[in-house]
Point group: C2
């Protein structure tokens, strides 16, 4: 069995028009793995504290993980990270498709973009060769058109692309980056960072397969996945990520009308099943994945929706659907298409529209503000128009392009009460009054409101196969959804470490791999003898690094907040009367900090913890904010 | 595959003459596993703070682990624990042989002994049935004779025994308990606790094999071990635990003359090879183990040494040999036989003789004190006589039976400078100026001077197969023996957790199993899906529990000391001039505490850490000594 990991990291300075290559040693890969591990490493070491996220001083880092490119489901993804223009904190987004695996096949594990091009450019990487090319003719174009032109320009119809649309060009603070025009690196505004650098796209083509230390072990995992997909992921394959929407609504956990409610009376109209029975025309996939959870939809009227842009996922269905009081699948599909064409994060975009709708209904915004649009909940047509206006920064869209926190500040009149965000980022489509462990994850996630750190808690909390699985980490008993006890916090802490690990590997969250199988995958690819202990420590290390980055930027416990709405009882539905207990929540935060070896009160990792994680160097890059 | 672990714990109250059985749930076994995990659990919950270790209020707990009795090497052992009469702290000792596996086959995972019998008794357990029997006729007898009589009494020649000798009866503070008369549960004076309860022996016979969830997996591990024994453990099989004695001496790490020196000029005469070429008559083994590292020796003159008592291990060879300046193998073998016959810990016994020799040479003890013995270093005959006197508490032996700390206090005249102990327990035969990571383990171990928590550091610290193995925990770089940096401390912390895990499983430290293989063994026996993460957390949990016990007993950082000698430069040999840097050592201790999430200054685990380890209940049993 071959041993160790050999990789390359591409550095591109757009200001200086230089390209170079780093070749870190095996231990670097083993310690940080990739993705969020790489991004937080480079941001801590190479970014000055306090830089404007939209200035040339920010970095934009595209990173795969050591398993990316392995011929197994969940291994085609990449991260994109930098300081977030939405939160001013650590920012990244993970994205599926084929681009990540293609980058690996082209010889690179990551790309670090510095500076800003004088005029629009794109990057073309083929089999180890990288080139900065003019993109003047692409600026302002939609992602699909851009992709078509680039493929033609470089003469590679199989080139994989990461592209921004007008939203990124216009520095919409929640602009995203599209892989292959239908997979979004959605959150934290990395599309705006890319736009600020005048970088329209990165096209990649590679022919070198990842060298596997133990090809048989990797093949066995891939086969296992193919064999069980129909059994354990049948609904997911058939209905996509929204397979659980109906049950969520039934239990009172579906964000509705800017999270004023948690039950949507027309939920049946926006389910995966409803989509399948109406606008679905196909299923998309990611590299090497047998699940095929991605949706492909087509609509001809009243909106024309191009199937090239895929179709809405759960987050999108809820953010433009129930959360805007909308049950019109065609309109939701159109909003999704606009987001993918122009490069907007569907979660933040939908949440921002919902915010505007609540402001409109409460008289804080009027038709004078909206340019005549009646922005009531349920107005599908107005929603679609506002999404387009945001991407183009037209009319009210220019304010809403700033995200709900800044928009509320501009609007005034108490709008901030309805601006649901954490650290400036809009709330995803998971109700923390329903999954209270998720609420802790929301508050503490380095990225601001982000569900990926703890969304699975609801599943692990109850009896069933996932409880059996999580016993492998030593969590032996079921924990109720509304439990905020130390035992529950422990589960959130452990899962947060594991989630950070997955985001270092840049593996898909939806793969049904056990902890042991992820370990086998890492070992099978690299030849390392890693244990789940080592992997959990990579996750914990990464969590501490992103925390240290945020602390250096002036964030801290004061920013680990939930919007007041979640402490307010739900008005109706199965969870009528349920709000998060604020005292228990604050106590749970302290418990979370202290379980990670962070200061219980300040939430700052101390020197001893950094040393234990093998990242003593972070202390020197902490701007004096970390105590000894 | 069967799931979960069903076990029974036998409770025997010698005062009330009652016997009962507990049947804990599967999660109890999964959380604590056995051995030190069980002992610290019951001591914390059921012992009052401050009890006299030699009073009926102390408990004596015999515990196996969940893998004990599995047909694989290293799985025949048991622990014996209670509050130590030597240290006043948490005490336990692990022991090989067959008794642990036999107990499991008799239907019990552990035995908790309470109270004190009115007159000498022994316990007889056969296939689930337990009986308290009179032992008046056994009191005062040597272990081999006792075993023979018991086997005859119960009519079971295959009964396995755990027996104390005169040392235990006489409450020698470092009296041990002998399994099958040749395997010692040596440290922390558990033989004295047994003696204080008037319990002479526990004899066991069982016919029920351990139910294995996955017999094939366990068999595969056993086969692997048989296959590699000759390759990776050939020297160990041939020469026993003293295989490394010569190299240790060459490098300047062999405790010599009460650790005044670290090179013994006659080391060649006490090596495993020297023993093999002279007094060795056979090799002993433990349950299901192919290694056969145990020695069997026979001597006819000038001492008669009975081979029934086995032969000296490395610790014994060094403690009665180099550390007493003695190179007479026959005398060392006699001292070993006396220790096994009378139930004395060979480490503490040898170290106590060495202490007395240094006092004698320095004029602190005279022939008047020793009853005419010329107790110079190198006087083999005097050494043998003193060992016998200690067991019988005759003459100077009565003072020395108290251990070096109390003896020095009785002797006065500055003797305490030469009383090398930690928390009252004598130093094992590993030189902390040579292995400085071991020094941290010595100081912090809940048992006082104990090498098992960190003895392997020297092997892991250098390049080679064990460094490759320890990478599985995320320790990626070699670390020098004299390194006390945070990276080194991290290694000691991680290995301490793993060592505590092994002591919960009660597995032999010498098995060449990888972390993954231990995980496979646990899963193969129980059907759990445990990961190395879960197992490391069991170890960390146990470390915190033993710490909490000690804190409740009034111990703390002030007791995490090394004798001044180790901060003093070695006078000669390869490490001439080397002493431990006291400032670095104190810093390393703080780093150790803080890496474990204990208070950096006090070394007390906080509530958050207890909660993270799933032992919040410890807080309620901490006597108010643990802060929130």
């Amino acid at each position: 069995m071959a041993y160790g990991y050999n990789g390359k990291i591409l550095r591109v300075d757009l200001s200086r028009k230089t390209i170079s290559v780093d070749e870190p040693e095996d231990n670097f890969y083993r310690r940080y793995l990739g993705g969020r591990g790489f991004i937080s490493y480079y941001l801590l070491r190479e970014l000055k504290a306090g830089v404007d996220p939209l200035s040339p001083e920010n970095k934009l880092i595209f990173a795969s993980g050591v398993v990316t490119g392995a011929p197994a489901g969940g291994c085609g993804r990449n991260s994109v990270g930098g300081k977030s223009p939405l939160t001013g904190a650590y920012g990244d987004a993970e994205v599926g498709g084929y681009w990540g695996a293609e980058l690996k096949c082209a010889g690179y594990d990551a790309i670090i973009i510095d500076g800003k091009a004088e005029s629009p450019v794109y990057l073309w990487i083929k089999d180890g060769e990288a080139e900065i090319r003019d993109a003047s003719h692409l600026w302002g174009k939609a992602t699909a058109e851009t992709q078509e032109i680039i493929r033609s320009d470089v003469g590679e119809q199989l080139a994989r692309t990461a592209i921004i649309g007008q939203a990124g060009e216009n520095l919409v603070r929640y602009a995203c980056i599209l892989n292959d025009v239908s997979h979004a690196a959605g959150r934290t505004g990395m599309g705006a960072v890319m736009g600020s650098k005048n970088l329209k796209a990165i096209a990649v083509r590679g022919h070198n397969r990842l060298t596997l230390a133990n090809p048989g072990a990797v093949a066995a995992l891939a086969k296992w996945l193919r064999d069980v997909v129909g059994i354990v992921m049948g609904g997911f394959s058939a209905q996509g990520t929204s397979v659980g929407l109906k049950a969520l609504n039934r239990e009172g956990g579906l964000p509705t009308r800017n999270l004023q409610q948690s039950v949507f009376e027309d939920a049946d109209k926006i389910t995966g099943r409803a989509m399948k029975e109406s606008i679905l025309v196909g299923r998309g996939s990611c590299y090497a994945c047998p699940v095929r959870c991605k949706r492909v939809v087509s609509v001809s009227e009243p909106y024309q929706v191009d199937s090239v842009y895929g179709g809405p996922e759960y987050e999108t269905l809820a953010s433009f659907g129930s959360n805007c009081g909308i049950s019109d699948l065609a309109a939701i599909a159109k909003a999704n298409e606009l987001c993918n064409a122009h490069g907007l994060d569907t979660i933040s975009a939908g949440a921002t529209v919902a915010f505007a709708m609540e402001c409109f209904e409460r008289g804080i915004l009027s038709e004078r503000d909206t340019g005549g649009l009646k922005l009531n909940f349920g107005n599908a047509s107005a929603m679609v128009q506002v999404v387009d206006m945001i991407a183009r920064r037209k009319g009210i869209g220019d304010i809403l392009a700033e995200g709900v926190a800044r928009a509320a500040s501009r609007i005034g009149k108490g709008a901030d009460e309805f601006a649901l965000h954490i650290k400036g980022q809009e709330i995803p489509m998971h109700e923390p009054r329903y999954k209270q462990g998720l609420g802790i994850g929301y508050a503490i996630s380095p990225k601001g409101a982000d569900h990926t750190m703890s969304v699975h808690d609801s599943m692990y909390a109850s009896e069933g196969p996932l409880l059996e699985e999580t016993k492998a980490l030593g969590i032996l008993e079921p924990l109720a959804l509304d439990d905020l006890s130390p035992s529950k916090v422990r589960m959130v802490v452990y899962h947060s470490c594991w989630q950070h690990l997955l985001d270092c590997l840049v593996m898909c969250n939806f793969m049904p791999f056990t902890y042991h199988q992820v370990e086998e995958l890492v070992c099978g690819v690299t030849g390392w003898n890693s244990t789940v202990y080592e992997l959990m420590k990579v996750g914990e290390r990464c969590l501490a690094m992103t925390r240290a980055f945020n602390i250096r930027e002036g964030l801290g416990r004061k920013d680990d907040l939930l919007p007041q709405r979640f402490f307010t009882p739900l008005p109706s539905g199965p969870l009528q009367g349920v709000g998060i207990d604020k005292d228990k929540f604050e106590q749970a935060k302290e418990t979370f900090y202290s379980m990670l070896g962070w200061d219980k009160i300040d939430g700052i990792p101390g020197l001893g913890k950094l040393q234990e994680l093998g990242i003593e160097w972070v202390f020197d890059y902490s701007g004096g904010e970390i105590g000894d």
